[in-house]
């Protein structure tokens, strides 16, 4: 082995990079992982819900060690107008199980823990180092990386790009196109601290139970986006995000102004009352869907996680797609290297096949038209939550008006707002996009 030569270099120590580096190290490969932050997680932002299944497939007993906040027992989905919300709540004691399915986490702490596991598995991990470009041989084959620390560069059989949504290395190297403003969402988020008992009381929780609120409607001021509120042990994560092109072209809001108005909304304000804010963060989310997925492999390289545009925006899933693609990439690479093969585009295509066979690509494909639907049908995010709240009020107010008249009022208001053709068209298009 040449000095300073690795079997694989992983760029980035988020969930996708950690999943890849961990899996490679476990298979006995000589792995170098490079992270630009002072520690893993110092640059990373998430809601954050952790989906156990994807991590369990990598570290089966993660629950013993990982910094988990609360397991989710209740999901609220709120359609908001300016005065309130109408929604669905789902809660079940069944989620108080031995191995809960979803947890809230704090990414800075979680990534740090995951990174420690990667080191314990045998990978070499360096922090505070930014990969600046890919090293290529005369034929264009990727043979390593250059960093802002090491002038000569470091070589490897393969480079796994787990560099997150901005993905500067891959973009400046021409592996994938620049992101389009209509394919990314900008989310802002705050950490609100409150004593654990206060959170338990406000949300009707005991032990480590947690609640998730996903909200949409007039809170995004006509832009396509959603807001969230997640309970951690002693804090509440609250945030809101909209498509970047909507921020620039549709809305008039600043991101922090939007978040302030969400926090001041009558349905939210009381939940945060008296909290101490300890952090404000912003991050992009790749939400262009299936059609925005770039080329995934080439000679000497693969791309995983957010850099590969693997986010299921409908279900708010990203970290699990990141971990799964990271693991699948690593398994492909390990199979090739351990059998003495070369990491050619042709051989690495097995990774693409594995992603296609998994829930990752199946889900991405299922929702391939949702992005286009919302882009053309921006009104649905504002109008329908409004109509729903109007309808609920009409229905629940007892004011001497008979129920049949109330029904006609509800139908008439929907009709007037959108027209019968509009209503049926929206329903049809949504059904087709959802299928």
């Amino acid at each position: 082995m040449k000095q300073n030569h690795f079997d694989a270099i992983v760029v980035g120590a988020g969930p996708s990079g950690n999943a890849a580096a961990y899996t490679l190290a476990q298979r006995g490969l000589n792995v170098l992982q490079i992270e630009r932050g002072e520690y893993a997680g110092s640059k990373n932002v998430q809601g954050a819900i952790l989906y156990a299944d994807a991590l369990e497939k990598i570290i089966p007993d993660f629950r013993d060690e990982a910094p988990l906040e609360r397991h989710i027992v209740e999901q609220r989905v709120w359609m908001m107008d300016d005065a309130g919300h109408t929604g669905m709540h789902h809660r079940s004691d069944d989620y108080n199980e031995d191995k809960p399915n979803r947890y809230t986490i704090l990414r800075a702490q979680f990534d740090k823990w995951f990174s420690r596991c990667v080191k314990e598995a045998g990978a070499t991990v360096i922090y505070e180092t930014t990969v600046t470009s890919l090293m290529r041989d005369a034929s264009g084959w990727v043979v390593g990386v250059h960093t802002d620390r090491n002038g000569e560069g470091i070589t490897a059989d393969v480079v796994i790009l787990a560099e997150g949504v901005n993905g500067l290395v891959g973009r400046t190297s021409g592996l994938r196109e620049e992101l389009k403003p209509e394919n990314v969402a900008l989310a802002v988020k705050e950490m609100h601290f409150l004593p654990q008992e206060v959170i338990d009381a406000r949300f009707n929780l005991k032990g480590n139970e947690g609640v998730v609120i996903e909200a949409m409607g007039t809170i995004t001021e006509g832009m396509v986006g959603t807001a969230f509120l997640y309970t951690n042990r002693e804090s509440i994560s609250v945030g809101i995000g909209c498509m970047v092109s909507d921020f620039t072209d549709v809305g008039q809001a600043t991101p922090h102004g939007l978040l302030d108005r969400f926090k001041a909304h009558p349905s939210i304000r009381a939940l945060l009352e008296g909290s101490e804010i300890k952090e404000y963060a912003a991050h992009l989310i790749p939400e262009g869907g299936y059609r925005a997925i770039p080329e995934l492999v080439g000679n000497g390289w693969l791309v995983v996680g957010d850099a590969g545009h693997f986010v299921n925006a409908v279900h708010r899933e990203g970290s699990n797609l990141a971990m799964t693609t990271g693991r699948l990439a690593a398994e492909t690479v390990a199979d090739i290297i351990l059998s003495g093969g070369s990491c050619s585009r042709h051989n690495l295509a097995a990774y693409v096949e594995a992603v296609k066979d998994s829930f990752v690509m199946k889900d991405m494909k299922k929702y391939k038209d949702i992005h286009g639907f919302l882009k053309k049908g921006r009104h649905v995010v504002d109008l329908y939550p409004r109509l729903m709240n109007r309808a609920a009020q009409t229905w629940f107010r007892v004011d001497g008006v008979d129920k049949k008249s109330k029904e006609s009022t509800i139908v008439r208001e929907a009709w007037r707002a959108r027209g019968i053709g509009g209503l049926m068209g929206d329903a049809f298009k949504l059904m087709r996009a959802w299928r």
Binding site: G41, K43, V45, N166, V244, H256, Y280
Partner: protein, 94 residues
Amino acid sequence: MSDRVENRLFQNRYVVDVGRPHITVKPHVNPSNALVAMTRVCPAGCYSRNEQGQVEIVADGCMECGTCRVVCAQTGEIEWSYPRGGFGVLFKFG
């Protein structure tokens, strides 16, 4: 509850690479609509307009989200790179 963005950023930890800003706006006479939009859309309020109408940036509070990079990619008015390893924003919770 309605904090100004500066007060919020005050909560965050940064290691500023003094004298080496990782984002710069290229000299210009008239900024594009995209660049002007950043004076509103940057979540850290890093962009502002000077008296002559040109857009300026002070990137100390930048959270490295990349929004301005994406918005101005077509116009080429800004140069954007990550801060050197170890510098920039440092999230405690994320």
